[in-house]
């Protein structure tokens, strides 16, 4: 194994790329082999200029081989590895310990930020290698424990370090802090809607999917955004998963423990939402993993986009398969969908009159297929507020987000304690076999469920989801067993009035 390696990304995994350089006599020429993409091929221009800036002038025929030869290499992060490999041959630099070098070079030898630093750090930790990375990537890598990482400002500094003249700074491990971010908007800023707030609390506690149905201006979007403020902070394993994905797409981290919240416009394509493209990038559903995926104007999404969401919502992961390979991305999202009850928005409204024609209603309802609605655990209608409620501007409206967040956190702790042995973190992830074995119902509750099932038609999955939601409601009440009121509440979210307009 050559001691100079770079990486290329394959999904959220870093694949080590060995960089070999041969220089022979002749007229100056650089060739790169080993399936480079355009960005890698252009690296030779950047590398040449950067090397000249530190006093290494290239000459002769320079052949750069990127091994393994059959893996396509992408991105600009191989620049540094190529430059170091060349300097080893021509510039009197010696790399003693096998190391990963990642970074994009500027023409004057500075290092630029790259995407994929965290996957590279994971690889380095796994193999026990050193890793050299740009200064700007040091922050995200500092959250990964047990990595021997060095921060590099410029090529000159790195070469001085490798020659033993000066010492670079190490990237120290620092634990992410738990301080909860300011909720914006806060629950106490939202007037009325106590039923919706309760449903949001359940959704946040159990990571259940949510559908908000309401007329225009009733506060669907506001409520969805307020959900962010009551979610518990990311745990360590979750943080690593989120960090990997963020680093893969090059998103910067602002508040570390904050759960992702991705709001997607309804013009998004299936690839944008689920991931793909020639480089197999993760989609919004993966970027929102462990957090919230908010789909406003749900029926306006094209049908194939909505149907593409079915499988990841069920499995909690998505397999992106293209000609260039297939990768598995996590997709453990809390999906919040918002929609109007009809095109004009006033179906079921006590005051306003719905002006939609039957055929328009029919068309609108057909956009939401049964299978996708079946995967949403909580259906809530958001009524318009009465004029008196709207005008009462002063004062707080109910609990603040912090109070709700505290209850949610307690419920999550119970879940984590119960399910940690099974590798799951929330009630929504309970697999079928565990559900049957672990969720024991009293005879009284069972007979109630039976009676309810005779009235409302629930699919097998529907019933499982009702049971999961009941478990969450029981956890919120800190109750060990699932009581009748818990099941009744869970059922009401599924077969309540929110979707009554669907069945007219």
């Amino acid at each position: 194994m050559n001691s100079v390696s770079g990486i290329t990304l394959r999904g959220v995994k870093a694949v080590p790329v060995e960089v070999e350089v041969e220089i022979t006599g002749g007229l100056f020429n650089i060739s790169v082999v080993g399936l480079p993409d355009a960005a890698v091929r252009e690296a030779r221009e950047r590398v040449r200029a950067a090397l000249r800036s530190v006093g290494i002038t290239l000459r002769g025929r320079v052949a750069i081989n990127l091994a393994p030869a059959d893996v396509p290499k992408e991105g600009a992060l191989l620049d540094l590895a190529i430059a170091v490999a060349i300097a080893c041959v021509q510039g009197g630099v010696k790399v003693r310990k096998t190391s990963l070098f990642i970074g994009e070079l500027a023409l004057d030898g500075r290092l630029r930020k790259v995407r994929g630093a965290v996957p590279a750090a994971f690889l380095a930790r796994e193999k026990g290698w050193d890793i050299y990375l740009p200064e700007e990537n040091a922050e995200e890598v500092s959250l990964v424990e047990g990595v021997s990482a060095w921060r590099v400002k410029s090529l000159g500094d790195l070469f001085a370090h490798l020659r033993g003249e000066t010492e670079l700074a190490r990237v120290g491990y620092c634990e992410a802090d738990f301080t909860p971010p300011q909720a914006d908007p806060d629950f106490s800023d939202i007037k009325g809607q106590s039923a919706a707030k309760r449903a949001l609390e359940i959704a946040a506690a159990g990571h259940h999917n949510l559908l908000l149905v309401g007329s225009p201006g009733s506060g669907k979007t506001l409520l969805a955004r307020a959900l962010k403020g009551i979610l518990p902070p990311l745990s360590d394993p979750e943080l690593m998963e989120v960090l990997l994905l963020r680093s893969t797409v090059g998103n910067s981290i602002s508040s570390v423990r904050e759960r992702p919240f991705r709001s997607v416009h309804h013009t998004a394509s299936a690839v944008a939402l689920c991931g793909g493209g020639t480089t197999l990038r993760p989609g919004e559903i993966s970027l929102a993993s462990r957090g919230v995926l908010f789909l406003d104007e749900f029926p306006e999404f094209t049908r194939d986009v909505l149907e593409a969401l079915r499988q990841p919502l069920e499995d909690g992961q998505i397999t992106v398969s293209r000609a260039s390979g297939s990768v598995v991305y996590p997709a453990k999202v809390l999906m919040v969908a918002a929609c109007n009850p009809c095109p004009c928005g006033f179906a079921g409204d006590p005051v306003e009159h719905c002006t939609c024609s039957p055929s328009a209603l029919e068309r609108y309802r057909r956009r939401l297929s049964g299978p996708i609605l079946d995967r949403i655990d909580l259906h809530i209608s958001i009524p318009r507020l009465m004029p008196e409620e709207l005008v009462s501007l002063e004062g707080k409206c109910g609990e603040s987000s912090a109070e709700v967040a505290e209850r949610v956190r307690a419920a999550r702790d119970i879940q984590v304690k119960r399910w940690s042995g099974y590798g799951i973190g929330s009630n929504s992830e309970i697999p079928e076999k565990l559900l049957r074995r672990k969720i024991v119902l009293t005879p009284e509750v069972k007979s109630f469920l039976l009676r309810a099932l005779n009235r409302v038609r629930l699919s097998g999955r529907g019933l499982s989801r009702v049971l999961k939601v009941s478990r969450t409601i029981a956890d919120l009440a800190a109750s060990e067993e699932i009581k009748l009121e818990h099941v009744a509440e869970a059922l009401s979210y599924r077969e309540g009035e929110a979707l009554s307009w669907m069945k007219i």
Binding site: T24, G25, G26, L27, F28, I30, R44, R59
Partner: protein, 154 residues
């Protein structure tokens, strides 16, 4: 090793040329009757050779012609052989001399240089330089040395 051999051969050639030059008396007369633009070129090449020796290059050969054209100066810069194209412009030209070397000319130079190195089985480093000389009225000529002109063309 190969560099030495290549140098030896070119030295022999140069000696041959100089012997021929000194023996033929009418050749000197001939150069006087050269047209003006060729005289300018010759003057520039002399200036360029002086300049190269001044900065420490060793001149191996001058005006080596082959099928693909002529190489004005072949010099030795350390362990590297430099093929030099000299361009001279007298005062009053609108186009700077370095702009007169286009891709076609570079292609020819590369071919010629490759033939020269291959004939001598030279496997070391080599490059192509351009020396642009602008003649000025009343003052000495300005000399500009552009190294490795094929570097940007990958």
């Amino acid at each position: 090793m190969s560099l030495e051999r290549a140098l030896k051969r070119s030295l022999q050639e140069r000696n041959k040329v100089s012997i021929q030059k000194s023996s033929g008396k009418d050749q000197a007369d001939h150069s006087k009757t050269l047209p003006l633009h060729l005289q300018t070129g010759k003057y520039g090449e002399e200036k360029a050779a002086d300049y190269l020796t001044h900065i420490g290059y060793r001149i191996i050969a001058k005006n080596v012609s082959c099928r693909h054209g002529e190489i004005d100066i072949i010099a030795n810069d350390g362990d590297e052989i430099v093929f030099v194209e000299v361009r001279t412009r007298s005062f009053g030209w609108l186009m700077p001399p370095e702009c007169t070397v286009g891709p076609e000319k570079i292609k020819k130079l590369k071919k010629a240089a490759r033939i020269w190195t291959e004939n001598r089985k030279y496997t070391g480093f080599w490059r192509i330089d351009l020396i642009a000389i602008t003649l000025k009225e009343g003052r000495g000529p300005s000399i500009e040395h552009i190294k490795n002109i094929t570097e940007g063309i990958l």
